[in-house]
């Protein structure tokens, strides 16, 4: 009660954000939930929305491309999430060393993250060019004939996963800040006890930055399942649907085939999948995430 006045002021302050949330997030979400049970071709306007019950979801069961896009997306997420996390943590560890010119290296590793995804994709198309791309030219130096990365259905998805490694700058930065928050005295104490570098890493560093890992894993999962731009620009789902990511399929359904109802149903299924995986990670977090403040309660 005593706070009611300042509370009210607080609501005024968050009002712009709240309005935005209601209008541009909650509102459209509710509308798309309605559409998920409807048929709508967009062109003919809102009056042509037709209620079809669960039809969209039934269609999914028989939709070959739906399964294909799920498969592609799951493979991508299952490989890329662990790969990117380990890679960015390793790079962050390197960048956390106190060497001369470290700022320069930090800059180098972060730089790709500020390049727009489309521009980066165009560049990677050239890198992946089977004949003239620098990747295959580099491989040729070792006598390896590189594959047609983006034109061969067995390599295209792998190529996109490899390419993603280049853009982990954001994750690196977050790990780096996590690493810098680990108190120095813990390492000093461990050194006195004769702990080696691996022991220090697994017994001090990893537990201390586990909240950061937790955050990055969740963001990684969400990002992985929502992968879109690069596939849209570089392969458009091909060759032979080998890079037909879920979001790309959803987009095609909505804006190429004009099946907005079906696309909305797809988006809700994706939402539930992401939610399930995120909850799984959150539930498991009590087993492996360590918060410094917590031990006082124990």
């Amino acid at each position: 009660m005593r706070n009611s006045k300042s509370e009210r002021a607080g609501y005024w302050f968050i009002l712009p954000w709240l309005v935005g949330l209601l209008l541009f997030t909650i509102g459209p979400m509710l509308f798309s939930l309605l559409l998920a049970f409807s048929k709508w071709d967009i062109i003919t306007g809102v009056q042509s929305i037709e209620w079809v019950g669960l039809d969209n979801f039934k269609t999914m069961f028989h939709d070959e491309l739906f399964y294909q896009s799920l498969k592609v997306t799951f493979i991508f997420a299952l490989v890329s999430v662990p790969l990117y996390q380990v890679a960015s943590l390793l790079i962050a560890l390197l960048l956390n060393m106190r060497n001369k010119g470290m700022k320069f290296f930090r800059l180098i590793y972060f730089m790709p993250s500020i390049i727009p995804a489309v521009a980066a994709s165009m560049m990677w198309i050239m890198i992946f060019n089977p004949e003239y791309g620098i990747l295959n030219r580099a491989l040729a130096l070792f006598g390896v004939q590189g594959p047609a990365w983006l034109q061969d259905p067995s390599y295209a998805l792998g190529a996109l996963i490899v390419m993603g490694l280049w853009g982990v700058g954001n994750t690196i930065i977050i790990y780096l800040s996590g690493l810098q928050g680990v108190p120095e005295e813990l390492y000093e104490a461990a050194n006195l006890d004769g702990a080696g570098p691996f022991q220090r890493f697994f017994n001090i560093t990893l537990p201390m930055i586990s909240p950061t890992v937790f955050f990055n894993v969740i963001m990684g999962i969400i990002g992985g399942f929502q992968y879109f731009t690069q596939a849209f620009v570089m392969t458009n789902g091909g060759p032979l649907n080998s890079t037909l990511f879920y979001n790309l399929y959803l987009y095609n359904k909505a804006f190429t085939d004009f099946e907005m109802g079906y696309a909305s149903a797809l988006s809700w299924v994706l939402f539930i999948i992401i939610l399930a995986f995120t909850l799984l990670v959150i539930r498991s977090s009590s087993m492996w995430v360590y918060y410094q403040g917590d031990n006082e309660k124990d």
Partner: protein, 428 residues
């Protein structure tokens, strides 16, 4: 971009809802005395290519004191999406341009106003001024929905320098497909085991394939686009496609595989850099070719041994938004944009071919380079996308099958059998 399309879909939906709510109040401006009728119209393409349209809009405004028209070009890349979403939101332009592949689709959705009533009331304007085939293409189920902006028949384009270098005579009117492939063979060269140039491009683009299939007396669909079984996988189609894909397969290929063309930079840039000797494509390619220093000529698309020859007229038609508020005025605008003066203006420097008979005859009389292209009009037929609302399904499955074949994942018969089955189950 990370948030991806799920949130994009949601955003767009909201925009529709909001605009649908608000559009009710904004049209009160009409009817007031001295108030001008406001119109907008859109085309795809970059601003430069719209220069003629800007001029036409200015002239239209000067000639019609009671109407004020505004030209709003849309970049080619997002044209379809932009148009669709604005149609949904009730914010679409009064007049817009549609490509031949989409003629059926938009009419089917009921967003295009038929022009017949306006035309029959209008004694000052007669469709006879236009090329008959072109006008026919813009008619759907007996009704006139579009009026022509410009058109581009498919023709055979050849690289003169490559022919000269090999000492081979240019394509002739009598050429059969076999003649062309035999010549393509001579123009395909290897350096070691790497191809350095190709004679022809038999890719997966369906338009040239249609012309070949038609010459063989077959098609991927029946006439009204309701059946694929027995058409897409008929014996004739399979035999023809076996041959067509063989041109871009194996060690004696004369046409780049998808991988080759990726490696060498894509078909049109290969043509411009003297790495591709012949290609079948529409006249729109001319704009790009003229910017490069390639020396090219055009010829008739080869015929079958029995003299059958086919082409497709790619075209762009003006359409009136069926939900527009000033359709009478919009009709005036469409007339203006497709009429004789507009055709003259656009074709003045040879950029496009005029859609009107008289002006085209004039071009024919003095143009040498464009003569075969214009002649190809007489052989034009309608692809399935211009015959049926099911068209896109046929194209999608056919292209997918072709992709599998070209990547060596399946044989022609297997892939086409499967595609035909898929189409029929989808369009039922």
């Amino acid at each position: 971009m990370k948030k991806g399309s799920a949130s994009l879909v949601m955003m767009l939906i909201l925009v529709f809802v909001l605009s649908a709510c608000s559009s009710g109040g904004s049209n009160s401006a009409e009817g007031g005395k001295g108030e001008k009728v406001k119109l907008t119209f859109s085309v795809w393409g970059d601003v430069n290519s719209g220069a003629d349209e800007v001029k036409l809009a200015e002239e239209f405004n000067a000639a019609h004191p009671d109407i004020e028209v505004k030209f709003e070009p849309i970049p080619s890349e997002g044209y379809g999406t932009k148009l669709t979403t604005s149609l949904a939101a009730g914010q679409a332009p009064d007049v817009f341009l549609v490509g031949e592949g989409d003629y059926y689709k938009y009419v089917d959705k009921g967003v295009i106003e038929p022009l017949d009533d306006y035309l029959s009331k209008d004694t000052s304007f007669n469709l006879d001024i236009f090329q008959k085939d072109l006008i026919e293409n813009m008619k759907i189920e007996g009704k006139q929905y579009y009026l022509p902006k410009d058109f581009n028949p498919l023709a055979l384009w050849y690289n003169k320098r490559m022919f000269d270098e090999a000492g081979i005579p240019y394509p002739t009117d009598e050429w059969t497909w076999d003649d062309m492939i035999a010549t393509a063979q001579k123009l395909t060269k290897k350096d070691g085991n790497k191809y350095t140039q190709f004679g022809f491009n038999a890719g997966k683009w369906e338009y040239p394939i249609y012309t070949y299939l038609w010459d063989y007396g077959t098609d991927i669909a029946n006439e009204d686009g309701t059946a694929a079984e027995g058409y897409m996988n008929s014996e004739k189609t399979i035999a023809a496609m076996d041959k067509y894909v063989s041109w871009s397969q194996g060690d004696s290929r004369v046409s780049p595989t998808p991988l080759d063309s990726e490696t060498l930079g894509g078909d049109s840039s290969m043509f411009m850099t003297d790495k591709l000797a012949m290609m079948i494509t529409g006249r729109w390619i001319k704009g790009d070719l003229d910017k490069s220093d390639v020396q090219y000529g055009s010829a008739l698309i080869p015929q079958n041994t029995d003299g059958t020859r086919s082409s497709i007229i790619a075209s762009a038609g003006w359409a009136i938004n069926a939900a527009g508020k000033n359709k009478e005025a919009a009709y005036e605008l469409v007339k203006w944009l497709s009429g004789t003066d507009a055709q003259k203006l656009r074709s003045a420097n040879g950029k496009v071919l005029p859609a009107t008979v008289k002006e085209l005859d004039e071009v024919k009389a003095k143009e040498v380079a464009d003569k075969p292209v214009i002649e190809m009009m007489d052989y034009a037929k309608k692809p399935v996308t211009m015959r049926s609302t099911n068209g896109p399904v046929f194209v999608e499955e056919f292209t997918k099958a072709l992709e599998k074949v070209l990547l060596g994942k399946q044989d022609v018969k297997g892939a086409l059998d499967e595609a035909a089955k898929n189409v029929d189950s989808k369009i039922k």
